[in-house]
Every structure is written in C-alpha cells, then in structure tokens.
Point group: C2
Chain length 150, copies 2
DNA sequence: TTAGATGCAAATAGTTTGCATTTGT
DNA sequence: ACAAATGCAAACTATTTGCATCTAA
C-alpha cells in the first residue's frame, strides 16, 4: 500500500505496527464513507462492494482491532442487539437515541474534557476516547399520544 | 404480585402500564443483585437460579422492555460483541473500560446535567438518561511494556 | 375477563475458529 | 524472508419467532 495516498487513520494503523492490508483498508474506507453508524452486516455489504475478495471474518477482526485502537466504538442503538460501529474522530462520539422510533441524532457538544483530565489523574488511567449516549424520546415521539410505532 | 414488597423499579414497571410478571421480576432482581454489568448469558443463569420456570426468550424480552424504559442500557465491554447490561440508577451510568485487559471501573462524577438541559431545548427531545463510556488503558496496562495480555 | 405476557423449541442470524495460503514490510 | 494477516467454510453462540397457554390486573 502506498504511504502517500492513505488516510490519517490508515497511517495510524501502520504506525501502531499493524499491517495496512487491503481488508483493513476496505473496512476503514467503508466506515469513513458512512454517515456514522454501521452494523457489522451493513459494513460487510459495503466492504464487499469495495473489494469482493474480503472475507467476513476479516471484517470482524478489523473491527476488533479498530476498537482496541480507539478508531471505532461499538454502540447499541434500538431494535437490535447487534452493535453499530461509530468512528471516533478526535477520540469521541456523542449522540441521542430515541427509544421509541430508533432515530439517532448526532450531538457535537463535548463537555467532558475537564472530567477526562481529572479522571486520568485520580485513577491513573490513560483515556484514549469516550462515547456519550443520551436517550429518551425524540421531538416527534414525545409529541405522540399513546403507544404506536412511527 | 404484592405492591408493598416490590422495588421502586418494579413499581415503575407497573405504573408504566406493564404487567409485573414473575419473569420480569426475576430479571430485575438478578440485575439489582449484580455488581453492575451482566451479559444476557450471565443474566439468564442467574434468573434461572431465582426461578427455573423462566424461559430465555422472556429474559431477552424483559431486557428490551427495560431498555425502552431507561431502566437498563446495553453497553460494549471488551472481548465480546455481546452487550453487557447496566442498571441506570437516576437515569445514568458512567464507566471506564480498559481496551487491553477489559477491566471496568465505575465512575461516579456526572457533569452532563447542563449539557442535557441545553440539548433538550435545542433539539426538542426528552432525555430520560445517558451512558458515558471512557476507554483507554488502565493504570496497570498503561505501565506494561509491550503487547502481552495480563 | 381478557389483553398482555409467557415458555417452549425451532429457526435465524451473527460471530468465531482452525488452518492452509497469501501478503505487507 | 517471514511474521502477520487473510479467506474460507464449518462450528458455534446468541437472539428471535410463532404459537398455544397462562396470568396479572
């Protein structure tokens, strides 16, 4: 793989001592092209569209590696127990999930920097990222009367 | 079921219009007796210990309901894609997960109340809770030299 | 009384594994 | 050159579903 054409994340992979394989690159590319939340199944579809030679297992292996590297984080949205993977630009991600209709709204605001510093000191840990999930009812569902799915 | 002996969460279930069945009660009891994080498999074990008549499916159905009611939240720890369920006393939960050894440290501090209010106003949503996951390396793993599992 | 919830067991879908082979560095 | 990573396909596990029955309110 050519060092000049790869994304910063891909470069980081290599710098962490992992091979930048075509399978990993396809997974990364698919994730970066997404709007933010992809289940393994959706991801496999898109990876195969990019590179039909990639095996499913490698997608799971890449996801596990990316999670360990804090490039990505699995999160549970509604309706399914299958996780959706989100990219962590800058090491974090925040969203709101509607518990009724499943709608997800990205939230930019991050007020956890101080908390993070304080926690690192107190616990002696090294924090590489965080995920914040707010949940409840979206404007639509909050306005609805009884219990019907939108 | 007797209204005077049930936990606040159980009461809340009934008040939300759901039946307080023995399956749901067993799941709730098992969760409340836990230290905080239980996978569905661990939960099923404990539920069966409490009440052998409960079927697996009901455990999953209860977890889905409890998630919708913000009593509980699925979260990803390390090693497995299967979620661990955490109780949400006061509607929230915060923890740190070590990406290397999987250790989980509960974090009390919550600095998201203002953020929550602001968000509810801006997006028109109704927030019933939140989950915050910090991740990185625990003190132990941060101190370790290369790449071996502890 | 009766809508809602259940247990069961079968079906499904998602994930992991072992291994021979390939590939990035 | 060679350790690391892969693809494959089989094995496995977790989750969901349909349905007759039961039960909390």
């Amino acid at each position: 793989m050519n060092a000049t054409t790869v994304s910063p994340r891909a470069r980081r992979l290599r710098e962490s001592g992992y091979k930048l394989t075509s399978a990993r690159l396809a997974v990364l590319t698919a994730l970066e092209a997404s709007d933010g939340h992809l289940t393994s199944t959706e991801l496999i579809e898109r990876v195969l569209a990019l590179d039909p030679a990639v095996g499913r297992a490698s997608v799971f292996r890449a996801l596990e590696l990316f999670t360990r590297l804090s490039l990505v984080r699995p999160t549970y949205l509604s309706g399914s127990v299958t996780p959706a993977y989100v990219l962590l630009p800058g090491g974090h991600h925040h969203h709101f999930v509607c518990l009724r209709c499943g709608r997800v709204i990205e939230v930019e605001d991050c007020s956890l920097l101080d908390t993070t510093r304080e926690m690192e000191q107190r616990l002696g840990v090294h924090v590489t990222g965080h995920l914040v999930e707010f949940f409840g009812l979206c404007a639509n569902c909050a306005a609805l009367p009884a219990e019907e799915d939108s």
